[in-house]
């Protein structure tokens, strides 16, 4: 149910639900850690998908 909610919210914000799921997975795996070295992974996800969007728009 919560997953559906997440997918729905993602689509409403024009975001690929997979990306949101991946980010949430990263956060879940690191939520208990004192040192969360996840910014690199998050940035990569964002940057790859932001560029992928441009590519998709250029070549629909």
């Amino acid at each position: 149910m919560m997953e559906d909610l997440l997918n729905q919210t993602s689509i409403q914000n024009k975001i690929d639900p997979n990306v949101v799921s991946q980010i949430l997975d990263i956060e879940r795996k690191n939520v208990y850690k004192k040192r969360r070295n996840i910014f690199g992974d998050l940035r990569k996800l964002i940057e790859d998908n932001a560029e992928a969007e441009v590519a998709d728009n250029d070549h629909p």
Binding site: L5, T9, I15, I23, R35, L42, I46, N49, E53, V54
Partner: protein, 657 residues
Amino acid sequence: MIIRRIRFDNYRAYYGEVVFDFPIEDGRNVSIIFANNDIGKTCFFSGILFCLYGNRDNDNLQDMINVNAQREGSYQSSVTIFAEQEGEEISITRDISLRGGMKDDVSGKDFRSTLVITKGDVPIAANDESEKMDYINSIVHEDAAQYFFFDGEKINDYSVADGPEYREAIARILGIKEVENAIDDLKRIAKEYEKDRDECLKKQNTYNDILQQKETLESSVQEFERLDNAYQTEIQEGNALIAKHEEELKRFTEIGEKVIKKQELAQKIKEQERELNLVEVERQKLFQKNATIILGEILFERFNRDRSGKAATPYLSGTVQRYLEHLLAGPKCICGEDMTPEHSRHIQEYIRTNLVTDESIIITREREALFNAITKYLPHGIESKNAFLSCCETVFKWTSEINTLKGELLKLKREIGSFNEEAGEKIQQDIQRAEKKIKEAEYRKAQNDLKLYDARTELKNLETHLAQYSQANNESARCQRKLDYAQRLERTFEDYLGQLLEEKRKTVEEKATEVFMRITNNPKKYRGICINSDYRLLLELTDGEQYEIEPGRMLNPSTGQSKVISLSYIAGLNKSSNYAAPIIIDNPLGLFSDEHREAITSYLPYFGKQIIFMVSSGDLTDKYRKIIEPYVKTEYYLDNTGDSTWPKSTIVHKEVY
């Protein structure tokens, strides 16, 4: 996590090794540890917290070691939890030991605590305390532990709990923390992208400035290049003019050279004539001074030559004359040939020439005497004559040279003809002027070249910058895209969090209300438990009013009711939690009324998958034991086996159902 076993070794009240096994099976998920006061109920509870999360800052590690054990020389203590976590056997051991060796007088500072975690007999992060704690926090986060391991006598605090720690714990339990973290992280990343984009835009402004600079510079370069061409043309024209003048001058130069040669010749002739005059004067002087002696010497030499020639001729005596006359008369000559008229003529000529008379002899003898007398003056005469002749030779030589030079001069004069020296000089001046102009043009060109070089270099630098900034321009668009994406993600998670909170809140409310309505002794007064956006508890009364429990509020529920509310809330949270951990309660029935005790005891088996609680026999009387007995798998009875001041608690009885 399901706890399989807990082993205490000289931990606080527990003397020696005390091991609790906690098996569970369907329908029997409760373990009870019976102990009276000061025997080890709280030690059990604190031992678990110590094992999982370590000692608190103000804990004295030495005090955690059983005093009797210390007195017997054992300064080591440990608590080990053996558990099943996500299908794997794990063990968590935290021990207390002395730093270094034994000392006569030890204090709390001399002890240290060590954590060892094994997963399937393999140690986890042996040298990384932080990673080990991360692992434990992944099971039950320390912040959320109070909702799984709690003291029943103090749970009424939960009903009025407030503040960030409390909120943090709830967020963790409900699986909201990761969403909140995601939002925070995305905010931070978006902020970074925003900063990057702003930097890019800032560069873009610079880019416009640079573009203007570039345009200005390009105009300058064009102007410098135009000037450079103009100067180059000027130089080329100057050089062409010089070449033309030089071509003209070439002829004048050749003539000029002849003129110079003529002048040099004239000068040389002049000098030689002056020298010749001097030699002439010298010769005249010599002649005037030594003319007699020179003449005498000349005469002497001539006479002497004549005399010497005569002297060389043999005199023809009378006897010889007669012999020759006799020979003439004969048929044969003295040479053996026949006497011919030619022979005869020669002999007669010889006689005539060489016949010496007495007068001739006298004259010869006088002449000889005269010559002898003059001979003593002869060296002076020779010397004077030689000096004179030398002068004459010099005069002759120089006269010849002068004549030669004069001949060359005459020839040059003819070659030079109508040479106009002024015209040549004018050409020279024109060349000089042209050269000067060229030098000036070259100087201006050199200066212009420097400016052109600088301008081109600057232009090149600007081009490089522009390329970079152009990249930055693209980069700003890229940053903007990343920022947009991060912000959309952030909004997504914020929206999700809002809905998640609502869902979780509803779930917790439903579950807490369910528990509360089951165990409260006054279900008519309350409709349920509500939770506001800060996770604070609200009581929904039957009239629909929501009542917030605040510390010290007169209308607050009773202490027992508050504990029931808290317990219900904890249960609601547990049931809505992402964590799967046992519920360990120290004295869950303390300070409750009979009604509540009964209700709580009835509910305890439903609290979670595994329930362990410590209780005194007085609190869990037979009445309540009968209620819970069907759910109990193991019972432990602790007692103090020592007779000294300090306990030697251990298991005196164990019951497994």
